[in-house]
Symmetry: C2
Subunit: 325 residues, 2 copies
């Protein structure tokens, strides 16, 4: 085990240098975050815990990045520009200087990539395993917050990017998967390092009638959106967008179905609805922006999500989404 | 074990009803927090973890309150009015409906007491033990943030309230303490339920040249303030304010010294410095406000904290503060 600094050393050497000018913290009790004029404040918190959201032994730089990115994904789904993150880091008893150095590298890299400020936070002992909690703060124009409660029957349902790679990545990390090495690496990367759709904030804010990010599985998360909006949805399985890597792996693992991908977690893609009248305009704008959105179905009255197979018949699924409990 | 709801039930039944109107969360990915016009945003995060910050089996209502209050204490030390809190709750595997109901009661009570909003958050499985992370958001007038980096030689050093009861409360919880039942109950209450000095926000903001809250022990925290400000401090042990309960317990437990109280954690009192010119005015104002501040020493050039005993000689202390690692 590399030498381990004490708490003050940990903070002063590794974390404080990453905090912004205005963020006196971690060396103070709190920090100031500059809010741009004329915007509202958007807040979201998401934690990732060892043994639940990530496997023991995962590269700590990736953990820092994942903890940030799952929160930026939530902000993006609301149409909110990220400003800063606050970090609360619970360290399991086996951390050392190498671990925290690597963690800080990942953290610093993502602060730059996303142009956000670290507004300080907290470190503490977590004997039961590493827990990384991030609260992300974002800005939004008044009235432009996109809720998940506002989908209406007739709205078209879209997802960004591709679905199911992170689920395959988790299987790959557990060596439960056959496939070409390139494909396995691609899905593992996707599992470890989500790409929050921050570049889609503008188009979401402009066009979405409702939105959320997909973190616990497409079908289950669409059910949550429907429940919050008091509606149902019908989607077609063959419209769910898959990457080449995912298709390659599906071919070599006949036991894994499209429904497994549509109910597996960690996609961090956007699930949005757009009114029928604006769907065409939205699609043209998405094309012009080179932001990949695929129409997968529509919102209906009633409740629940019906997934239709290639034969036109509903697919029955027992598991709908990843459960944290 | 009482019946346990699933994650959706847990959130919908117990947590979502506590969230404010603007806070669509926990039923959404994020929440909006109304910022008053003409104020800056202050952010702080602090987590409490089972086996580190609290003992297994502690009343969950108290845990919710403690998690909120340690954060409000940080805001108070900066002169910042609390607006809202975001909660990230990691549940150990033995929680049940009774536990979360009780937790939600404590949470709801404190939201009312402090007039703050719950801006949502996150729940997750934490197999290693309960972890409660709170990020608190506050407002402050531009330029009024009180840092811990700005103490100057000649400034008077003050603490609010009384010191060391929470440390005795921890010993009492572990049954390591002799004393009158009333005294033992009083210090236990103080350990479990800190009283953040929110009523002192105005006076801190107006008079403090530097400030922090005392969470890891008076002496060690004063050392942190000194280090951050590039100064030293001299304090007199007999000026450290003690409650009647603490004095009663000290009498019956000769092995416990005043220095133990001054280096024990969890006081959540304010440690502030005031310039010599303004000290008199500050004391009169504190008296008029009925906010208890005691002058315990002064800031000097150099570094480190010297504690002088009743005989006028410096007291040597090995342990300076509670360490989280």
């Amino acid at each position: 085990m590399a030498k381990r600094p004490d708490e003050a050393g940990l903070i002063e050497t590794y974390l404080a240098p990453l905090a912004g000018k205005q963020s006196f913290s971690f060396l103070d009790d709190a920090a100031i975050l500059d809010m741009p004029e004329g915007f509202e404040l958007v807040v979201t918190s998401d934690a990732i815990a060892e043994g639940v959201h990530f496997l023991k032994g995962t590269n700590p730089a990736r953990l820092a990045q994942k903890a940030i990115r799952v929160n930026l994904s939530d902000l993006a789904a609301k149409g909110s520009k990220p400003l800063g993150v606050s970090l609360s880091l619970g360290l399991s008893d086996d951390w050392d200087a190498g671990w925290i150095e690597n963690f800080a590298e990942g953290l610093g890299a993502d602060l730059k990539v996303f142009g956000i400020e670290l507004t300080g936070g907290d470190t503490f002992r977590s004997p039961g395993g590493t827990v990384i909690n991030v609260t992300a703060l974002g800005a939004i124009r008044p009235g432009r917050y996109v809720s998940r409660t506002t989908a209406k029957p007739g709205d078209a349902v879209y997802v960004s990017g591709t679905i199911g790679e992170a689920y395959l990545g988790l299987l790959s990390a557990r060596h439960d998967l056959a496939g070409r090495q390139d494909d396995l690496s691609a899905v593992l990367e996707r599992y470890e390092l989500p790409e929050p759709r921050v570049q889609s904030i503008g188009i979401v804010s402009e066009f979405a009638s409702a939105a959320m990010d997909i973190s616990d599985g497409l079908v289950g998360d669409l059910e949550k959106l429907c429940r919050a909006s008091g509606v149902g949805a019908k989607i077609e399985a063959q419209n769910i967008p898959l990457s080449a890597a995912a298709m390659g792996i599906l071919e070599k693992n006949p036991a894994i179905s499209l429904i497994d991908l549509a109910t597996g977690g960690d996609d961090y893609e956007l699930l949005i609805t757009v009114t029928a009248e604006r769907a065409g305009q939205f699609e043209r704008q998405a094309l012009a922006d080179k932001t990949p959105f695929r129409r997968i179905g529509e919102i209906v009255s009633g409740n629940g999500v019906e997934v239709t197979g290639p034969d036109g018949f509903p697919i029955k699924t027992a598991k709908r989404s990843y459960s944290h409990f």
